[in-house]
């Protein structure tokens, strides 16, 4: 990947992130922060590559720490986001008088 292509990706991704979030209602802010927290759990693939290419003992130890932390970020982020979003329900089917 050449530097200029990487820079294009960076710019477009930055706009994408901004636009996707801009329309989010306040009620979803906490799950969304949690969801975006999960998304940067993608650091796991980088940590796997770093550990996979590690040769010295020091590199391996740091690599293991990196993968453990990254896997925690990804798994934890997913579980708590899913738990929160699962609870959001509309009054829909059980519509009651007065609950407009």
């Amino acid at each position: 990947m050449t530097g200029i292509v990487a820079l294009y990706i960076f710019m477009l991704a930055a706009f994408t992130g901004y636009e996707v979030i801009a329309k989010v209602p306040v009620i979803l802010h906490t799950p969304l922060m949690s969801g975006s927290n999960f998304v940067h759990g993608i650091v796991l693939v980088g940590a796997m590559v770093a550990l996979g290419n590690a040769t010295t003992g020091l590199e391996k130890v740091i690599g293991i720490v990196g993968v453990v932390l990254a896997a925690g970020n990804a798994a934890g982020g997913y579980v708590v986001t899913e738990r929160m979003l699962e609870m959001f329900k509309s009054s829909g089917a059980k519509k009651r008088p007065g609950a407009h």
Partner: protein
Amino acid sequence: MSAVSGDEARLLLIQASYFLTAFLFIMGLKRMSSPVTARSGIVWAGAGMLVATIFTLLYPGMGNYPLILGAIVVGASFAWVSGKRVAMTNMPQMIALYNGMGGGAAAAIAAVELYRGEALSRTVGTLAVVGGIIGAVSFSGSLIAFGKLQGLIKKSYRFNGQQILNLVILAAALFTGGVVATGYSMDVFHVTGIFALALLLGVTMTLPIGGADMPVVISLYNALTGLAVAFEGFVLGNAAMIIAGTVVGSAGTLLTQLMARAMNRSLGNVLFSGFGDTGGAASGGAGVTGNMKPIEAADVGVMMAFAQKVIVVPGYGMAVAQAQHKVWELCQLLIDRGVLVRFAIHPVAGRMPGHMNVLLAEAGVPYDLIADLDEINAEFETADVALIIGANDVVNPVARNDKSSPIYGMPILNADKAKNVIVIKRGQGAGFSGIENALFYLDNTRMLYGDGQAAVSQLIQAVKAV
């Protein structure tokens, strides 16, 4: 020769899988922006993560597979179990913890690359160093935020010249990083120095910040971790990391601004001043005069049962008392009697924007009964009863009319405009910020003293008895 083309095929496959992952992440985040599709959004993003993780194992020339798989199992199972168990009220610090782990992982990638000691190009070296510093700050800072919200760290440590100290540490980290990035020296001493200084900076930056401001800080560290991941993605030439990290970096920055604005504070204010703490209570502002007038639960029950419109204003105190289930039970009784019930949520009710919605959703409150500040504020004038439970500063009218108050200018819920205001409160103390609440002394306000859960139970009985 066949091995080479085999490697090329693998790399192509990995690129394709990362493309799919980036697509799933962005679509997932998009779906998370509406309550109707939000649940499927996290599933989409989760699928993307799974795809990227599996295909990354195919990278040609990688070793240490038992270590990789073992480390994934250890990290993932710890987080999975803790994430399943954590109470909804403790969600903010859990997010801080997982976020810190991501930052630490980004720093670890930088450390592996730099400790290897191979000469990196200046651009790559700089990105590795900057990403490593940001990741390490986010790691130690998030852990401090976790400790504060979890109640492990109770004090806010402040002293004169703290900001100068932080600047000195930052400058030292950048200087050491410069020495490494320019390839002047890549010895263990300098590389270790970068990370030690960055970790220290995260601690000294976060310790002085009070608990009330912590959500903004967590959100900021979330954005920083995204940025660190993107930078390390450049170092590794990994498009999935660049895209996902940058998307989170920009989205997180926007979210941080929204939160800070809702609290009427600039980001600089949050980071560099000491308000937002229960200590140092800024009790400025003109004295509030008048008396608090108590009321009995039975009278409130009658008032609410015969009301046309009731607006409930829940605050974090309600969640601490675990009263949200009882509150919803009460509201269902009222709805069955034909009363129009709405919930009014201040952007910073709970411990971060949207936290109160999660707590209400947990109790089974449908999201279409919940309104935010802009939607509901005009409606208070037509409400017969505003029921305040566990909320304080966010309904304090001095924010509108007393220029000398520290919370002057903060957007508040205009609960004082309702015909009757009922405040459920444990005792007569001041709020989280230590500021007297003028609402409690108004002529149309009555105080229902007691523990949140017990008081609402009494109200339920009272409404049933009508």
